[in-house]
């Protein structure tokens, strides 16, 4: 007589049927992967980053493979928030999974506007605020690298919406904890981490950078240790639910993130080596719970930390 094993998890106010999401920018608006597997099996979908105005994105080439990694410079190509609401959202609402909308702005005002516009839309679980965008007014430095600007973005989004606000942290910072603390103080309900690590690749034959945009963002298994380290540090210092991502390709990777302190995880680049990997991860987690006689996945959150050092479980919800 064992109780049903539960993969259910709660990122603040948002209840997920399981902790496996798909990461923003790698899953589009679910149109394509929908043809490959039942998206309703996922804990949630973090849709591709939307901006206030449509964006063409960066010039090609936009992709370079690196050792166990992927460098991309998509440049937030998207049809803009109004198109998104009209043409994509109605279908997304019916997918049978939680929809988290990733938003990006090039000024503080844009973030605020996006939050207000999306606040009126039913059927959204949360907003994920991508603070890795260049701040056009401040000469292109990204909002996410300074505690002040990261907090300012968060505050405006917080004011603009009653939806849960998840702030997606950039790993391209000296002190991730400082930024995490600043955005939580400014009203973030949860944090997602990590976004991609800034990098470049050079073609020695052409003596030129490979990417049309020169700079790209590194993702995939190559970044996993960095992502885990950041989850670990933030978990120890900042009492807020974490959504972990960065190089997850199988259920054991997912467990590492959860045991480092993530309440949920997202698969991004992992989709590209196996489009069914999120489903396999869900299955693998189920198997792990059964094998170790754990009733719920939430028991494993932060399990790798010394219990005396970690903060109270209650505080994290």
């Amino acid at each position: 007589m064992t109780a049903a094993l539960s993969l259910e998890t709660k990122v603040g106010r948002v209840t997920l049927k399981n902790p496996v999401l798909v990461a923003s920018g790698t899953f589009g608006f679910a149109r394509e992967y929908e043809k490959l597997f039942p998206v309703s099996a996922l804990g949630g979908v973090m849709v591709t980053g939307v901006t206030l105005e449509p964006r063409a994105g960066n010039p090609p080439p936009r992709l370079v493979e690196t050792p166990a990694g992927l460098l991309n410079s998509i440049g937030l190509q998207n049809p803009g928030v109004h198109w998104f609401i009209k043409e994509e959202l109605p279908r997304l609402r019916d997918l049978g999974t939680e929809i988290i909308v990733n938003i990006s702005g090039f000024s503080l005002e844009e973030y605020g506007r996006l939050a207000e516009i999306l606040d009126r839309e039913p059927g959204l679980a949360a907003l994920e605020v991508n603070i890795s965008c260049p701040n056009v007014k401040k000469g292109g430095m990204t909002f996410g690298v300074h505690p002040e600007s990261a907090a300012a973005v968060t505050r405006l989004v917080r004011q603009g919406t009653s939806l849960p606000v998840w702030v997606k942290l950039s790993p391209n910072v000296t002190d991730i904890v400082e930024i995490a603390q600043a955005v939580v103080d400014a009203g973030a309900d949860a944090l997602s981490l990590i976004n991609t690590l800034s990098g470049i690749a050079i073609d020695p034959d052409k003596r030129r950078p490979v990417l049309g945009n020169v700079f790209g963002g590194l993702s995939g298994p190559a970044v996993k240790p960095v992502a885990l380290r950041m989850i670990w540090q933030v978990y120890q210092e900042v009492p807020v639910p974490l959504v972990g991502m960065g190089g997850i390709t199988n259920y054991r990777d997912a467990l590492e993130f959860i045991m480092a302190g993530a309440t949920a995880v997202a698969v991004g680049t992992g989709l590209f080596l196996d489009p069914l990997s999120p489903l396999k991860i869900i299955e693998g987690l189920q198997g792990f719970l059964a094998k170790h006689q754990e009733e719920t996945i939430t028991n494993l959150i932060g399990a790798a930390h010394n219990r005396e050092e970690s903060i109270d479980e209650e505080k994290r919800e």
């Binding site: 589009g28 149109r31 090609p60 936009r62 992927l70």
Partner: protein, 292 residues
């Protein structure tokens, strides 16, 4: 389109002096769904390994729905294709496919020019095999209805009174680095295609590029063209054919991650803005593609 585990039926090097391989796979589902110019993504990595990370896009050279087989020709250029070249019959491969928008139907056209450069050849062969199959397997009444639908648009060509369908003529300009890399010429000839080879080293056919080889046959009476090959070749073909006012389609390549249209990583520039090579293409109307 779906993931499919494919069995390796055979894998053979093509010729002595080349790095080209011919791969035959049992992939019933993909074989059933593939059309000319479509491709598959192939995982070229040991099980459990994470490097090389991404699947490799490869065009389908021939597809045999009844036998549940597909054929691929690939060149070893790096780690993924080197790994692939070491597979043995009985091994299994993870595939995703068929992918992309392939070539349009050629039923409206009678004289068709083909430009193939290196490993651009397989995509064009899939087209010709499909088109010539259709000709011979269609009953004459279907043949008539095809002509009926195209008669209004045809430019006075006397094909309205043939019984055997449009009776298309294919002329192929096929470029490679050297003679040994001009592969499966027998298949092209068996399909009734007039083949004009060109080699960089002059070891067979025209000494130079496919566009150089084609120049003396142009403008000719051609209605349409299809081209697949390296970027510089496609660009020259596009320019040349635009000059003669002949419409056509180009089959492009770009680095890919998802292969299905989700990540927006594989875009090329077109007159309509950026388009995904993996899902809006890889075949595009030639006049829409912008080479920067």
């Amino acid at each position: 389109m779906q993931p499919e585990t494919a069995g390796v039926i055979s894998l053979s090097p093509l010729g002595r002096a080349t790095d080209l391989y011919h791969l035959v796979l049992a992939a019933p589902q993909i074989a059933k769904e593939t059309g000319p110019g479509q491709f598959v993504m192939v995982r070229c990595t040991d099980e459990q390994a994470l490097d090389p990370l991404l699947l490799r896009p490869l065009n389908v050279f021939r597809f045999h729905p009844a036998e549940g087989r597909i054929e691929i020709i690939f060149r070893v250029v790096g780690r993924g294709t080197a790994w692939l070249a070491e597979r043995r019959p009985g091994d299994y491969l993870s595939l995703l496919g068929p992918l992309g928008r392939g070539f349009s139907s050629l039923e409206k056209y009678r004289r068709i020019l083909l430009f193939a450069g290196g490993t651009g050849m397989p995509a064009l062969f899939s087209l010709v095999e499909q088109e010539t199959k259709t000709d011979s397997s269609l009953s004459s009444s279907v043949g008539k209805s095809i002509m009926g639908s195209s008669a209004g648009e045809s430019t006075g060509s006397p094909m309205g009174n043939t019984m055997d369908g449009p009776n298309r003529e294919f002329t192929l300009f096929y470029g490679a680095r050297t003679k040994d890399e001009l592969v499966f010429l027998d298949l092209w000839q068996a399909a009734g295609v007039t083949v004009h080879p060109a080699t960089d080293d002059g070891s067979a056919g025209f000494h130079g590029t496919v566009t150089g080889a084609a120049a003396r046959f142009l403008p000719g009476e051609f209605d349409f063209y299809c081209a697949c090959g390296p970027r510089p070749m496609l660009r020259t073909v596009q320019e040349m054919m635009a000059k003669y006012g002949i419409p056509g389609e180009l089959c492009l390549e770009e680095a890919m991650a998802c292969g299905i249209g989700a990540c927006l990583g594989c875009v090329c520039e077109t007159v309509h803005g950026y388009r995904r090579v993996c899902s809006d293409g890889p075949v595009f109307p030639a006049e829409e593609v912008k080479f920067s």
